[in-house]
Amino acid sequence: MTHFGSLRMEKVSRSFGRFRALRELDLEIEGGEFIALLGPSGCGKSTALNCLAGLLPLTGGAITVDGERIDNVPPERRGFGMVFQNYALFPHLSVHDNVAFGLKMARVPKAERNLRVAQALALVHLAEHARKRPGQLSGGQQQRVAIARAVVLEPRLVLMDEPLSNLDAALRLEMRTEIRRLHQRLGLTTVYVTHDQEEALSLADRLVVLRDGTTQQIGTPEEVYGSPANRYVAGFMGYRNMLDVTVTTGAGAGGDGGRTRVDLADGRLAGTRRDGAPDAGDAVAAVRPEDLDVAAAAGAADSGTDGLDFAVPATVEVVEYHGRELAVQGRLSDGQRVHFRTRTRLAPDDAVELTAPPERVLVFPREEAGAPDPPPRRPAAGETPDPKASEAVAP
């Protein structure tokens, strides 16, 4: 195994004309690490990956491997393997010859070449398809050939650009496990690009969250999932409720992590202050649907609600059956939408009181420096489309 000690990207930037697709990405990758670049479509993930691979020249910054500058080295001499979103298998070569391609270019003797190809194909369970052409394989099989083709060279870094995005849901899960297994088995340093936060969280040792070419947060899955750096990352990590609130007491006043009380829509919640959250005044509280609890359904709790210190009243609007629990869309008294999950049987127009553990209510500043757009929402399966979006589509 050819490991490097560390690969360092310093202020790596890439512009297309005046458009800055990637801005000053700073990242240090340890040998053996699995890094995920995460962000919505168009945020510069592929640009970053292509810069690493040498397929795209940088317009600024430097890339070094163990102190040696490599950003002017052409791709064929970097020794990085790459798995493409569309697999990019050579259609005129058999599966065997596809996997053998890199070894052939490196002039590896035929006997060793055949042995290593056989091993790589066995690794991805494709030994019996070696003689087929890529066109005769299914999508998942083609993806495995692409992976075998990249790892057979034992590259010091494997780059994967949304390798699973062309597969159907079941196959995607299976291949995800496969990729994790391969990484554990071979220990290849990997940079994995995806727009799917679940994929990133489940595979990576560390995540890099990108937005419009700028780095939002770098951290372990726990860090990014549990304490997103800003409301954009929070939105991307499943904090689907972004509630406009007013901070009333900076209880444990001070910096990051302090407790605070926020008022909203005839109710109040206890929350945790994140970087830059104000001591008083307007803010945004980010809460995951699964962290909101139904404290009391109306009627059953005629007397009880007033006893709750921290709760927000809401009216149920849409109820979706999701097996073990219900996914509910409600509305607060001030008109804000709220999403939550519950096992309580609810029906539209029911009135409920919602609570949440203070450490799961993250309070962010209302306006973010240099981030004018609200975070994109990823519609959950079965969700009715945003009324605004459907208006835009209609002529």
Partner: protein, 299 residues
């Protein structure tokens, strides 16, 4: 339909559909009719005419005359000697030029227009240009003699080279456009993948692009060859029509329209067709041995 279904055989419509025949396919019918009227009928007519020699002597008399007269027989060789190199040059020159111009760059439109311009010139204008530029009193020779590189003007027209130059000028735009479309049909990520697998620029061309381009090049060669094989005006205008560029179409023209021996003219036309078919068949046979499937690109 129902009778078919009862016998457990799929209905005609389904059987046709399985072979890719549906109502849209019927749109080729006018094309087929056109082909019959404009190609098959003259061909069959010419074929039977060629077997009715004007001066008797059995059905094959015209063909015998052609192959027994060395002056006539040699036209096949003289034409091949022009058409094959011209087609090869066109194909081989088109590859690097298409390669250079496939990407998006400033001035691409201008460059493409300049490359394709010769199509609009036509053979006669091209010939005139060649005579003026490469002739004994043309600029080219004048400049060379002027700066003292040569004493005597080079004989670049009214011989083999003049015709070859004319064929390349008029044939290149077609092969270039064809090659360009084949080239842009190849998925660019294949080359990128090859690069990350350690293939140098040359190796990428040799092992990825060329194999995927080869079937298209075979077609380009065939079209180029067929265009060049029928060379007529330039052989007359910038060539040496009684000598080194005494091509087969000149003979066919003279037989038919100067001696008014239509059967002989038809026979020569049939021989032309046969020679072209042989060459095209050889190239296509070679092509059938290549990979011809999808090249993964935008098509």
């Amino acid at each position: 339909m129902s009778a078919d279904a009862r016998e457990g055989r799929p209905a005609l419509r389904h059987r046709l559909a399985e072979r890719g025949v549906d109502r849209t396919t019927m749109l080729v019918l006018p094309g087929v009719a056109f082909l019959l009227v404009l190609f098959c009928y003259p061909f069959v007519y010419g074929l039977q005419l060629s077997f009715q020699p004007a001066e008797g002597g059995g059905p094959f008399a015209n063909y015998r005359t052609f192959f027994e007269d060395p002056y006539l027989r040699e036209t096949i060789w003289l034409t091949l000697r022009l058409a094959v190199p011209a087609a090869l040059i066109n194909c081989l020159a088109a590859v690097p030029v298409a390669f250079r111009t496939r990407g998006v760059f400033r001035g691409r439109r201008l460059v493409m227009t300049l490359l394709v311009m010769p199509i609009t010139l036509g053979t006669v204008l091209t010939a005139q240009g060649l005579l003026g530029y490469l002739g004994a009193n043309g600029w080219f020779n004048k400049i060379l003699t002027g700066i003292g590189i040569i004493d005597q003007p080079l004989g670049l027209v009214h011989n083999y080279w003049g015709v070859l130059a004319s064929l390349v000028i008029s044939g290149f735009p077609f092969s270039y456009l064809l090659t360009l479309s084949y080239l842009t049909g190849i998925d660019p990520s294949l080359e990128r993948a090859a690069a990350t697998l350690g293939a140098s620029r040359r190796q990428r061309f040799r092992h990825v692009l060329l194999p995927l381009l080869a079937p298209g090049l075979a077609i380009t060669f065939c079209l180029s060859f067929v265009l060049a094989f029928a060379v007529f005006p330039s052989a007359q205008l910038v060539g040496d029509p009684r000598g080194s560029t005494h091509v087969i179409s000149i003979e066919a023209y003279e037989a038919a329209f100067q001696q008014f021996d239509y059967p002989m003219g038809s026979a020569i036309a049939m021989i032309m067709a046969a020679v072209m078919l042989v060459v095209v068949a050889l190239v296509l046979t070679w092509r059938s041995l290549l990979y011809r499937g999808a090249t993964g690109g935008k098509g």
